[in-house]
């Protein structure tokens, strides 16, 4: 591939939205209220829309005939490079919202920078996505506050969710070799520079929600190298089912 780093870079962005969108898609019709069902479906929809833009671009960059669907659904388990955070299961609504918030905050900061990319396609996608993501962030932040500063039970559940997922936040700011190359070329976002702002903003919101910012300094990593948690395999077996079972067909 001529521009392999760019290809890898696009997947690094897109896979996060793909896997998070898939997780939210599982919830459809099973949420705590009709309004949250609509919102979660809507966020999932936005994410898959973004995913299509990215993979269509990746398909062009790869230039080897693979379509957006091939890229989305026909890779092996070790070839997905999403962060571990987004593949975590829908344990309960607190986990779902905490996962969303911890990702949205990063996503927002990230897209804000990606808008300035020298790569006009990425910059345009970022520009389109940022409106959607600012809505996602507002929605998830509101729920962090509602549950953090709601009842005793909801406070405890939300604190557990934040504590449980915290270990996956650091990975958001790791860089692969492709990432570094793309930063150097003015195409990629230097995520390391976002880290401090991220943790400050997250802490502020947690504080506002009467929640404690976890202090643990032990973090998990691996997603960006395709080393995932055991949850991802099952998600993929559903995601890929049709493409694997009925290969090379049009739908």
């Amino acid at each position: 591939m001529k521009n392999e780093n760019l290809y890898k870079y696009i997947l690094g962005i897109a896979d996060n939205s793909l896997i998070l969108g898939q997780r939210l898609g599982e919830l459809c019709g099973h949420g705590p209220s009709l309004e949250t069902d609509i919102a979660c479906t809507n966020i999932s929809l936005d994410l898959f829309g973004q995913v299509r833009s990215y993979y269509q671009y990746a398909s062009k960059v790869a230039g080897d005939g693979r379509t957006e669907d091939d890229i989305a659904m026909l890779r092996k388990e070790r070839e997905y490079v999403n962060v571990l955070l987004v593949e975590q299961p829908n344990t309960d609504f607190a986990y779902t919202m905490a996962r969303q918030f911890l990702f949205d905050m990063y996503h927002m900061l990230f897209l804000n920078e990606l808008q300035k990319s020298k790569d006009v396609t990425l910059s345009a996608i970022a520009n389109k996505c940022i409106k959607e993501v600012s809505y996602h962030l507002r929605f998830s932040s509101d729920w962090i506050k509602r549950l953090g500063d709601g009842t005793e039970i909801s406070h405890q559940k939300m604190q557990d969710a934040i504590d449980g997922l915290w270990t996956y936040t650091d990975e958001l700011f790791h860089q692969t070799e492709a990432d570094k190359q793309m930063v150097e070329e003015g195409i990629g976002v230097d995520v390391i520079k976002l880290k401090e702002t991220y943790y400050t903003k997250v802490s502020e919101l947690l504080h506002e929600a009467s929640l404690k910012t976890p202090e643990s300094k032990y973090f998990q990593k691996g997603g960006k190298q395709g080393v995932h948690t055991e949850h991802l395999g099952y998600l993929l077996s559903d995601l890929q089912y049709m493409q694997r079972t009925y290969p090379n067909m049009e739908w």
Partner: protein, 318 residues
């Protein structure tokens, strides 16, 4: 109010409906009108909500991103329909909680079609094409029904439903023109959904209750059998067009009456499903009741938070 006064009001009310005026929530209305509308609108809302489940079942497994996005959008539309139908219903003085309670306790009904399982991707096509197709035939007349909020909701619903219907048919076209496996999948889905779709138009006129009253209130414009005939006449050519076969050996064009003759519907199956013993009745209720119960602490928290916020505002203001 004296009996005479009430009679007077009723006459004026019926006259307004006869003149095609809309009844609005604040208008006086007979109690039976109110109850009938609560029942029908909420049943319709429940159907939208339960209807999310069989299609939601394929979101994680949609075969392409394009189809996944379309399916998500469709299910989201259904949730939206549910939302504004519940709102229309609430204008009649019933709360959403009461309506849910009726659904969860089994007191309220929803469309029986959603008690069939979606077992292949082609079912997403068949549901859009047939189930939404039948729903539209049921619902288009309701765009002119007498109760304003319901009529307005139905206008929006029907617009979106016909988009869904085209989308479903388009899935079927793609499958029918695809590989032999895909065509077989499409035919199989048609085989399984055809008869339940015909049942969606309701029991035969002979068995149907409430019809006369409903006609007067414009909750119904045509009889079930007329609607069913309309659905069949509209759908058969669509199946022909894409080379699928309607699973009814008795189906035959009747030149004389200008419509199709068709075979006997299995009404035993219809009543079994209506009574709660269809393939997925229990699963559907379990999913909804489970979601509701698991969500209780979330709704409680939202309420508690809103109260705290209100108190804080009040304290600040004082």
């Amino acid at each position: 109010m004296s009996e005479e006064q009430i009679k007077n009001l009723e006459e004026q009310f019926e006259a307004r409906i006869a003149r095609d005026e809309k009844i609005e929530p604040k208008d006086w209305m007979p109690e039976k009108y109110r109850q009938t509308h609560i029942r029908q609108i909420s049943q319709h809302a429940h159907s939208e909500i339960i209807g999310m489940l069989p299609e939601g079942n394929w979101i994680t497994r949609a075969p392409s991103l394009r189809r996944k996005v379309a399916l998500l959008a469709k299910v989201q539309d259904e949730a939206g329909h549910g939302l504004y139908l519940y709102s229309a219903c609430e204008t009649l003085g019933v709360s959403r909680e009461e309506l849910y309670e009726q659904l969860h306790s089994g007191k309220a009904k929803y469309s029986s079609i959603f008690n069939y399982p979606t077992i292949t991707w082609a079912d997403m096509g068949a549901i859009g094409w047939l189930v939404d197709g039948a729903a539209i035939i049921n619902q288009v007349p309701l765009c002119n029904t007498s109760f304003g909020p319901y009529a307005r909701a139905m206008i929006r619903v029907c617009k979106e439903e016909s988009f869904h219907q085209r989308q479903g048919y388009e899935i079927m076209i793609k499958l029918a023109n695809g590989t032999p496996e895909q065509k077989e999948m499409a035919q199989d889905a048609l085989n399984r959904w055809w008869w339940p779709s015909l049942m969606m138009l309701g029991p035969t006129d002979a068995e149907s209750v409430h019809t006369e009253q409903s006609m007067k209130w414009k909750l119904k414009r045509k009889s079930n059998d007329e609607l069913r005939q309309q659905f069949i006449d509209q759908t058969v050519p669509q199946a022909d067009l894409i080379g699928l076969t309607i699973p009814d050996p008795e189906l035959k064009w009747n030149e004389e009456k200008g419509s199709y003759d068709f075979g006997e519907i299995n009404w035993d199956e219809f009543w079994q499903v209506v009574k709660g013993h269809g393939p997925c009745n229990k699963e559907r209720m379990k999913a909804r009741v489970g979601a509701w119960e698991r969500g209780e602490w979330v709704r409680d928290a939202a309420m508690a938070h809103a109260e705290k916020q209100a108190d804080r505002k009040l304290n600040k203001a004082m």
